[in-house]
Every structure is written in structure tokens, then in C-alpha cells.
């Protein structure tokens, strides 16, 4: 149902998204059968393709040409894909989107080479654009995403952290690439600097809202919907917003002790999830997501008059209210 809504939302961009899907397949084409298998395995797992969508929407404010925009949209999605392959090695994850990860289907080394390959293909692809600004934006984003992941590992299993730590982490983990997608599309299409700034900020706020919802869904959704056990973030030591809001709750403490000791049983996981789901931490987290969403909508208001503004609003609202 949610996927249908998403498709409907993108319906007027469908032909351009189809071009990007085909280009993604071409981009990961390799002389190695194993890399082809691993890359196609990833592509077939799907994904919302929100980053390419934001590249295209950002570009609509300028000289929109899909032949040029795909040169930005494809690498942005490839970088996201490559980072997921490496993240699964970091987290030792066996499942993603209901499918075995590359590291579990093959092994860690194959996952590393596949990630490096896709990452390199992304950069090879974006060098079709000569504008140094495009490369500077993307390069800084990549380095910052990496810094964010390093911080995430340092913050793992640490309860002596505050909201500031959490927001700093999700900014780099998710919001930056979405923000840069909007910015890159606009810069590549020759949009004026003021509009680029608003689009960049819009992407940042949407990205923050998106990640908070992602963290809420990790608790609220079923194992089947997630394609992995609910609560996986916490089991891997990542303290997400709902957990952070409950960290001093006396009833939550015994669960956290067991999670950190690696002794939480399946029954206890279910009980813990039920407890968090009923707590007001979920509502509080949703409210924080809404705050970011509101700021994103304010950025849309500041953009010049353009029919694509409605689309940006619809996509932002969908992402902030999504159920998967």
C-alpha cells in the first residue's frame, strides 16, 4: 500500500525514474560475474530511490535535462548503495530489505570489493560533469558521512549521550546525503544560489525527519515489514531517539542491561518492544520528526513560485508519515 502511494507520488517523474533505473543497471555492469551478481542482487532489492528523486526535484528549478541530471542522480544512489554494502559488514547484518546481504550471501571480502567497485563507479560516472563545485559538494558529503559513521561506532552502547549527540549523528548518517542530493540537482541545473540554499536546507530537514521516522519504525514495524528483526538498531548498540528518551526509565533499564551484555532472549526482545511501543517515547519522537518536517515545509515556502513546490511538499509529507 505504502509502495503504491510512493509510485503514485512519483508518477509524473516515472519516465525519468525508469531512465535512472536502467542507468543504475548499466553503471554496475562489470567484467566480473561475481560483482555483477552482487550488484544486481542489491539493485533488485529495490529501495525508495529518494536521493535520485530529490536530485530531479531540485533540478526542476533550473534548466532541467534528464540526460544531464542522470549523471548526478545515478552516482548519488550508487554512493548510498555502496555505503549500505559496507554498513552490513560493519554491523555483521545478514538481512536487509528482506533479502540476504552481500556479506551473508558471499562473504566480507566480496562485500568490501563490491562496495569499493560501486563507489568507484559512482565517481567515474559523476566525472561526466566537469563543474568542480559538484565534486566539492559530493566529496565533502562523503567525508562527512564517514565521520558520522565513525562517531556512530564510538557512541555505540553508550547511554551517557544526549539528544545533541543523536542529532549530530543522524545529520551525518542520513540528512547530509539527502540535503546534498537536492543541492547537487539544483547546482547541476544552474539554479541561482539563494534557491540552492533553500533546497539544501529543505533536504537537510526532510532527512532529519526521515531518519527519526526510520528509527521509530525500527521499533514499531514488524520483523516481516522490516525484513530484519524489529529493534535491530538497539541490538547492534545504536541508541536511537525512542531508546534515548527511555534510557532513564526504570522499567527499561533491565532490558538495556541485557542488550548491552548480549543476553537478551527472544521473549525478552518481544516484551521490550511491546514496552517501548506503548511508551510516550514514540509519540515524542514523532513530534520531533514533525518539527523537522515543519521546518522543511517552511523552506519550500521560501522557494520561488514553481509547480514542483507541490511535489516537494507531497514527497516530504509522505516521507515524514510513512509506515515502512
Amino acid at each position: 500500500m505504502e509502495k503504491m502511494k510512493l509510485k503514485l507520488l512519483y508518477s509524473d517523474l516515472k519516465s525519468d525514474i525508469d531512465i535512472i533505473e536502467k542507468e543504475l543497471e548499466k553503471a554496475v555492469n562489470s567484467s566480473s560475474d561475481l560483482i555483477n551478481d552482487a550488484s544486481l542482487h542489491l539493485l533488485q532489492a529495490g529501495g525508495k530511490r529518494i536521493r535520485p528523486i530529490f536530485v530531479l526535484l531540485g533540478a526542476k528549478f533550473g534548466e532541467y535535462d534528464i540526460d544531464k541530471m542522470k549523471d548526478v542522480a545515478v552516482p548519488v544512489e550508487l554512493i548510498h548503495m555502496a555505503s549500505l554494502v559496507h554498513d552490513d559488514v560493519i554491523d555483521d547484518s545478514n538481512m536487509r530489505r528482506g533479502r540476504p546481504t552481500v556479506k551473508s550471501q558471499w562473504n566480507n571480502r566480496v562485500a568490501m570489493y563490491t562496495g569499493d567497485f560501486i563507489f568507484a563507479r559512482a565517481l567515474e560516472y559523476i566525472t561526466k560533469l566537469e563543474d568542480p563545485l559538484v565534486h566539492q559538494i559530493l566529496a565533502r558529503t562523503m567525508v562527512e558521512i564517514c565521520n558520522g559513521e565513525v562517531i556512530q561506532i564510538e557512541d555505540k552502547f553508550r547511554l551517557d549521550q544526549g539528544l545533541k549527540d543523536y542529532f549530530r549523528r543522524i545529520k551525518r548518517k542520513t540528512a547530509l546525503l539527502i540535503s546534498s542530493s537536492c543541492e547537487l540537482g539544483a547546482v547541476a541545473a544552474g539554479v541561482d544560489a539563494k534557491t540552492v540554499r533553500h533546497l539544501k536546507r529543505f533536504g537537510y530537514f526532510v532527512g532529519m525527519s526521515f531518519q527519526i521516522i526510520d528509527d521509530v519504525l525500527d521499533i514499531m514495524a514488524t520483523d516481516k515489514e522490516l525484513g530484519k528483526p524489529a529493534g535491530s538498531d538497539l541490538l547492534q548498540g545504536n541508541i536511537t531517539l525512542p531508546i534515548l528518551l527511555l534510557k532513564d526509565d526504570p522499567e527499561m533499564q533491565p532490558y538495556l542491561v541485557k542488550v548491552f551484555a548480549g543476553t537478551l532472549t527472544e521473549t525478552e526482545r518481544q516484551k521490550m518492544l511491546r514496552y517501548v511501543r506503548k511508551s510516550d517515547a514514540i509519540e515524542q519522537a514523532n513530534k520531533m520528526s514533525d518539527k523537522y518536517l515543519k521546518k522543511a515545509l517552511q523552506e519550500i515556502d521560501a522557494l520561488p513560485k514553481h509547480p514542483v513546490k507541490k511535489k516537494l511538499r507531497d514527497v516530504a509529507l509522505f516521507m515524514g508519515k510513512r509506515k515502512f
Binding site: 566480473s32 560475474d33 560483482i35 566480507n108 566480496v110 569499493d116 568542480p132 566539492q136 562523503m142
Partner: protein
């Protein structure tokens, strides 16, 4: 140009690479980046030979070194102890170095080198992953893969900056060094995924691993000495330094 000058040049390049990728947390858990001094030496040969080596070439050489460090870091990822902090940060260290090489070149607007190195990384990954594929390959195909893994990125740099005449010397030298390392590891009773692949192809061709490696090293050294001898573009002191490296390598093999 003497051995000290060469060593200082390599040390300086190393320092510049370390400075460009320094990261407090990564260094604490994963140490400094993995750099192969032989690769750095051959990367610097055009400079040592007096070729045009401005800030652009210097920066380009640094980024080639960073890319090698990024990929070598990922070569250290293990199948066991998968969730140790050290392993997790090793993955990120490689990604961080890759991001940094891109950032350095993006800041100076060197899009051509970004393109060349990306293509080089693509090819290197394709060769590296071959050891996990089921396809039967000949010994010569494995030597091609090793050669690409060791020298492909330096070749990309040489091609872009019109140093192509240095490629045969650099390729043969780095292939010899890698085969010698593989052989030494094998003699110690350790098996790498590459030596396993070579051994299987040798057996399939009715040969032994030892013979295949030894013969190839001898053949490459003979060819290399010839190429150095005939390289009229090399200054005599550079020629001597290159010849001395091959002879030292021959002595260590025989010894």
C-alpha cells in the same frame, strides 16, 4: 641522486599522505594507513628522473598513494571477529581515505584524475574479486590480475601525466616484488587466496607452484634488466638505482 635522497623522497611522500588522511579515532583503532614503500618508490621514479613535477603532479602522486592505502585497508577485513571495533573502523578507514582522495582532487578541480583513478579502482576490484569466482583461469591470467592489483593505479597516473614510458619498468618491478612476497609466504607454510588460485592453475596445467613462480620471477628480472638498460630516457643515476634494486632482489632470492 643517492640512496638517502631516494629514501628521503619516499619518506616525505609518506608524511604528506599521512597528513592528508589523519583522523584521531581511526588512527587510534586502526593505526596509520598501510603504505607500500616500493609502490611509493616507483610512483616517484619520474620525479627522481627529473620530469616536470609541479604542485599538480605532487598532489596527484599523494592521492594515488591515498587510494592504495584505502584499498589495502579493506584488504585487511576478516571473516571472523566481524563486529570488533577495530574491524568496524577498518571498513570506515578505507572509506574515509577514499573520500579524502576525492575531496583533495575535487578541491583542486582535477576531474581528469578523479576519472582515471575511479576507472583504475573499478579494474582493481574486478581483478581482486577473481579469487572468489569459480571460473577456471590460466596462470598468465592470474599474473595479469596481480600486475593490475599492484600497479594499475600508478599506470593510470603515469598515462594521464605523459609518463607512460615508465610503465613497463614499474609494472614488471611491482609484479616481481609481489610474486616474491607470495613465494616467501608460501614457503613459510601460509596460504593466501592468490597463492591458492595460482597453485590450482599450476596443477591444472601439470606444473608445480614453485616452478611457476620461480620461472616467472627469473623471466621478469631478465626482461626488466633489459628494459632498464634500453631506457634512453632514464638518467644514469636513476638507471643505476633501478638496476641496484633488481640486483638486490636477485641476491635476496638466491640467498
Amino acid at each position: 641522486m643517492n640512496a638517502t635522497y631516494i629514501q628521503n623522497s619516499i619518506a616525505q611522500l609518506k608524511t604528506e599522505i599521512f597528513m592528508d588522511v589523519r583522523h584521531r579515532t581511526l588512527q587510534k583503532y586502526t593505526g596509520v594507513p598501510v603504505l607500500d614503500e616500493n609502490q611509493l618508490f616507483y610512483l616517484l621514479v619520474p620525479f627522481l628522473n627529473g620530469e616536470e613535477w609541479q604542485q599538480e603532479q605532487r598532489e596527484a602522486a599523494i592521492t594515488v598513494g591515498i587510494v592504495y592505502a584505502a584499498l589495502a585497508t579493506h584488504d585487511h577485513i576478516k571473516e571472523f571477529d566481524a563486529t570488533s571495533k577495530e574491524q568496524q573502523l577498518t571498513v570506515l578507514a578505507g572509506d574515509f581515505y577514499s573520500g579524502r582522495y576525492y575531496e583533495i582532487l575535487a578541491m583542486s578541480g582535477n576531474v581528469a584524475l578523479i576519472r582515471s583513478l575511479s576507472q583504475g579502482i573499478v579494474a582493481r576490484c574486478e581483478h581482486q574479486i577473481k579469487v572468489y569466482e569459480t571460473e577456471k583461469r590460466t596462470i598468465e591470467q592470474w599474473f595479469d590480475s596481480i600486475s593490475n592489483i599492484e600497479s594499475g593505479l600508478i599506470s593510470k597516473f603515469f598515462e594521464l601525466y605523459s609518463f607512460s614510458e615508465y610503465i613497463p619498468i614499474m609494472e614488471k618491478s611491482l609484479l616481481i616484488l609481489r610474486l616474491e612476497r607470495e613465494w616467501a609466504t608460501y614457503r613459510r607454510g601460509q596460504v593466501t587466496s592468490m597463492s591458492r588460485a595460482l597453485e590450482e592453475s599450476a596443477r591444472y596445467a601439470g606444473l608445480t607452484y614453485n616452478d611457476v613462480i620461480q620461472n616467472k620471477i627469473v623471466q621478469l628480472k631478465t626482461e626488466l634488466l633489459q628494459v632498464i638498460e634500453n631506457a634512453s630516457f632514464l638518467q644514469s643515476d636513476v638507471k643505476q638505482a633501478l638496476q641496484a634494486r633488481v640486483e638486490a632482489s636477485i641476491a635476496s632470492t638466491n640467498g
